[in-house]
């Protein structure tokens, strides 16, 4: 069984990476989870998962100078595939190889979460949303974040990627239920949860640890666990998924 989720938002800084790692940890209680830093231009998952000294990363795999296995790390109960931060690494990486990487990972995991870039303006930026089965859309309760979330949904559905649900993050006030209810009318997925603005989340990032490891009992961590519980992972055949990714070869632009 494997299902691939993109964690996306269109807008920057909404908490995609924080959410990818938090949902991954929460889901790892029920599933075998792999989280991938698919934000290859501005990688930062390594800073959220205690991997800032990782020697081999997705960049090396995408540059065909390392195997997928060499860039996977077992951390906090999940398999983490971080991306590197060097410009050289980014330049040499071929983002279209990401499909092959996801296909290989799909062979022996239950859930793959792809942390996505904060934009839709290039092929590499939309690739995670294109490849995923479903997308989790991370929204701050602001007008710009919601309109960017709408854009993500339209891009996703135009590639037959379904919307798994909405995750509100950095919620600062009461009354999010009303905002969520009105937002849901325009989205093809339910609200999975609302994570409060939390100093613990910033601390965790500074400490280089996932929120659920740093402050497992705080309100934000609890909200992530509830969101993960409301996400029902669908059964897919690993072999089928792997084949689908391999066969969907993208030609390079001229």
């Amino acid at each position: 069984m494997v299902e691939v989720f993109a964690v996306a938002s269109g807008k920057g800084g909404t908490g995609k990476t924080t959410s990818t790692v938090a949902l991954g940890m929460a889901l790892s209680e029920r599933y075998d989870v792999t989280v991938v830093d698919a934000d290859t231009g501005m990688a930062n998952m390594l800073f959220h998962a205690g991997l800032s000294d990782a020697e081999t990363t997705l960049h090396d795999v995408l540059a065909e100078s390392a195997s997928v296995e060499a860039a996977t790390y077992e951390r906090f109960g999940m398999t983490v595939v971080p991306c590197g931060t060097s410009l050289d690494g980014f330049r040499d990486a071929d983002p279209s190889r990401l499909r092959e990487v996801v296909a290989r990972l799909a062979a022996d995991t239950d859930v793959i979460l792809l942390d996505s870039p904060p934009a839709l303006d290039s092929r590499a930026a939309v690739l995670p949303v294109v490849m995923a089965d479903r997308t989790v859309i991370v929204l701050q309760p602001t007008i710009p974040a919601i309109s960017d979330g709408l854009k993500v949904q339209e891009y996703a559905t135009s590639y037959d990627t379904d919307v798994a649900g909405l995750l509100f993050n950095k919620v600062r006030e009461d009354g999010i239920e009303r905002v969520a209810e009105k937002t849901e009318r325009y989205f093809e997925g339910p609200t999975l949860g609302a994570v409060p603005e939390s100093e613990r989340a910033r601390e965790a990032r500074r400490a280089g640890r996932p929120l659920l490891a740093h402050a497992p009992h705080c309100d934000a961590a609890a909200a992530y666990r509830r969101a993960a519980d409301s996400l029902s992972v669908r059964d897919g055949q690993s072999g089928e998924v792997a084949d689908r990714f391999r066969s969907a070869v993208i030609p390079e632009p001229p």
Partner: protein, 181 residues
Amino acid sequence: MKLPQGRLRKSRVVTDPREPLADVLDRAVTGYAVFEPQDSLLLDADGRGVVTFVDGVPVVAYHTGTDRGGPPALADLAVPGPYHVSVFELDGADLGPVHDVEDLRVPPGMPAERLAGDPALADSTRRAAPPERRAPAGTEAADDHGAVEAFLEDEEKIEAIREQARQEAKQRAAEWELNDT
């Protein structure tokens, strides 16, 4: 709303209105910024938004397309980017008459909240505002879910945003040769 032209400081296209708002705050600009959404398909796209500043802190907002001022003008302007933004400097005295119009005024942090969706920038803008313009803690933010809800009730505008995104997605899929997936 009439303003003297002023001295042009900057004129460029940005994807996120956060950038000029942060820049104006950083440099403590006194003057105004004109925001022109580039999305031709969107309803209010032929209108432009004007926001004035004193020492980098927003004072009034006006939308030329809808002829609305104050917080509603910010709602009219809240469409996905890119925007063409021009920043002009003026003497404080030239802004006086416009700043006296109560209906045009906006709370200091509101443009950062509604246009940029950046609560942290809104906080620093509020901190930079003179004491008499600072709302009691929490009260300004507390009304913001209201603005989001008002936005969500504008079905036509949201449908236009979605339609625009659908077309863009289709066109780009072709450009990027992502069709056959």
